[in-house]
Amino acid sequence: MVEKTKTTLKRGLRRRLASVVPCLLLAVGISGCATPPPRADTADYQAYKQLNDPMEPANRFFYRVNNVLDTYFMKPVAQGYVYVTPQVFRTHVSYFTMNIGEPARMLNFMAEGMPRDAGTAFMRFLINSTAGIGGIFDPAAALGYKETDTDFGLTLAIWGVPPGPYLYLPVFGPSGARDVLNLPVSYFLTPMAAAPASDALTDFTDAETGLDLVNTRANYLAPIDQVKATALDPYATFRSLYRQSRASQIQQIYTNDGQTPPAWTQPKQP
């Protein structure tokens, strides 16, 4: 009973933390909105609207906060992790964490009305969880089930929800008014969330989350350093990269889920 209560408390704490982030954003956002240029200044006003970053002062504040956290904590941890692990290990960690996300991808693809991609995510999870030894290996890719990424933010985009204002979240980084909704959804759409609560499961979830964070940061070590070193305004550069990447992901979903006519409908090759 005590153990169960402890587990519930741990989960409850994480949920409360998840709910604190939007409130914090709202509080800082209200006081940190950008002043738009006068409407009479058409070109500047259009550029401001197109930029769609009305909370830029607050976003830049959180960018600086994250930068400090990253410089003094995440980056040194990731550098240490890279020092003690070979690339092959980090690649298999990526496979493992990617596999845990496949059920969420399948459900999102279903919600998006992309049956082929949903089937691919299902097959990837099935094959990699078994033949791939719990997702450590990715034999599904070799069998033709290539990874296609999606999340709830992209599902909303497919439904026609506009991206909304840009947001730079504390800890989580670049996001948007639409994409931020992916955070709570992705938290609950994992195989671990569906399993009966236990201390072991909570510990596993925490370890997996931590490993994923460090592994992902390790993959970005050189790229982030180089953006910071070469961009005139790294905040604007990361914003641009994020938005282009999301637009590209949406396009990729449409491209991947194209119709594939059955083999018997194809003319026979001479």
């Binding site: 070109a43 500047d44 550029a47 401001y48 930029l51 070979p86 690339q87 690649t91 990526s94 990617m98 990874e147 990424d149 992902t216 993959n219 970005y220 050189a222 790229p223 982030i224 180089q226 070193a229 070469t230 961009a231 005139l232 305004d233 905040y235 604007a236 550069t237 914003r239 641009s240 990269l241 282009q244 990447s245 637009a247 590209s248 992901q249 396009q251 990729q252």
Partner: protein, 207 residues
Amino acid sequence: MYLRRFILGAVAVAPMLLAIGTPAHADTIPPDAAKAFINQSGQKLMAIVNGSSSQTAKSEALRQLVDQIVAVDRVGHYVLGRYVNVATPGQYQEFLGLFHKLLAYNITYQINAYKNISFTVNSATPEGDDMVVDTTITTPDKPPADVGWAVDEIDGQPKIVDVIVAGTSLRITTRNDYASVITDNGGQVSALLTAMQHQIKKLAAVQ
């Protein structure tokens, strides 16, 4: 994963961030010609990056190569965006000069992190008025990166006008970066020129 591929790919090719600035042409370069150009340019780039020359010699060789294969002025024009009309002729010329220098310093900065790069040319597909050649760049101890090179014919010669990674254009990234500096300084192009000068000094000090 796509974002990861994008960023890894972007870093591998960031020195060549580039763009188209002027209205389109009637014809795109034929796919085979574009692929041959990228293959040839890639081989030259690999030879420099993987060579045993000193860092200074490599930097100089890369600067010359970039001038040969990249439409730097045209890219600069695109990157300045709507502020082309705001800048005075003098500021515009100064910008192009600084852009050339900054590109060279960025390249030098990047090559310090890369060695033993290999690449394969995959396919070429028309996109708008350009021919985009898809390549896969492989670096030891890093996941392979898929990179697209937009090629256009300028003055009868094929030139790189953009770099696309996972459907994302690096010329747009640079344009947004520069526009942000200008808008944050009340629309003054001079602020961008100052920022570029500072950046050049900073990179020169590091190198």
